[in-house]
């Protein structure tokens, strides 16, 4: 390992993930909630790459690559859903879109 040990990357990724969780839970704007999900995905990707480097394997890179592809597809469809919600309800507040709530 070069000067930086694996655990530093893991700590960084844990902090990044918890920031994403916090943003997901306490923001009300759907678009910002979506951005928090991207933060969490990036934290997980960073863990994959750090382990992949530590074990000198390339499988983690492939996983991260597929996560990015899925994130692109998810962003395209998810943002289209957000647009449709805005068109029908006129709001992007997550607390106001509650027809499915039990």
């Amino acid at each position: 390992m070069n000067g930086v040990p694996l655990s530093w990357y893991l700590v960084l990724s844990a902090i990044l993930f918890s920031l994403g969780v916090a943003g997901f839970l306490f923001r009300r704007n759907i678009i910002t909630i979506f951005m928090s999900i991207e933060l969490m995905l990036n934290a997980v990707n960073l863990t994959f790459i750090a382990f992949s480097y530590d074990l000198r394997q390339v499988n983690g890179h492939i996983f991260t690559f597929f996560v990015m592809v899925v994130a692109a597809a998810e962003a395209a469809v998810g943002l289209a859903i957000i647009l449709t919600v805005y068109k029908n309800r006129g709001t992007l507040n997550a607390d106001d879109v509650n027809s499915l709530r039990f």
């Binding site: 070069n2 592809v69 692109a72 962003a75 395209a76 943002l79 289209a80």
Partner: protein, 118 residues
């Protein structure tokens, strides 16, 4: 860090520092005599008509979606391209299946008029 990337970062640092330093330096050197006409957005043009945050039409978004999807597709082709010699006809067949599936989506979007600007 793989060796050989350090010059890249030196270049990046210079690229970021140069405009910052130039702007700050210019602020202290130049004479500063503002007047109302000078402070307008365009000294010799038309006035701005509306806020720049006006809503766009959704057609831009459809084009952007198609761009992202086919961007990802192009990224998938890159590993194949660098290993073209090794993979041979097997790789060509794999990528052909991949491209045919995506071409179906492209043809569908084209037929539905998603790419037309009307």
């Amino acid at each position: 860090m793989p060796e050989g990337y350090v010059p890249l970062f030196i270049f990046l640092a210079v690229a970021i520092l140069f405009p910052v330093v130039a702007l700050i330096l210019a602020k202290y050197i130049r004479p500063d005599v503002p007047s109302r006409v000078k402070l307008e957005a365009y000294e010799c043009g038309i006035q701005t008509a509306s806020d720049s945050r006006a809503r766009y039409t959704v057609r831009f978004y459809i084009i952007a979606i198609l761009f992202v999807i086919f961007d990802v597709e192009a990224i998938f082709l890159l590993p194949w391209a660098v290993r073209y010699q090794v993979l041979g006809w097997f790789g060509v067949a794999e990528v052909a299946v991949f491209l045919v599936v995506l071409a179906v989506g492209y043809v569908w979007a084209y037929k539905k008029g998603a790419l037309e600007w009307i």
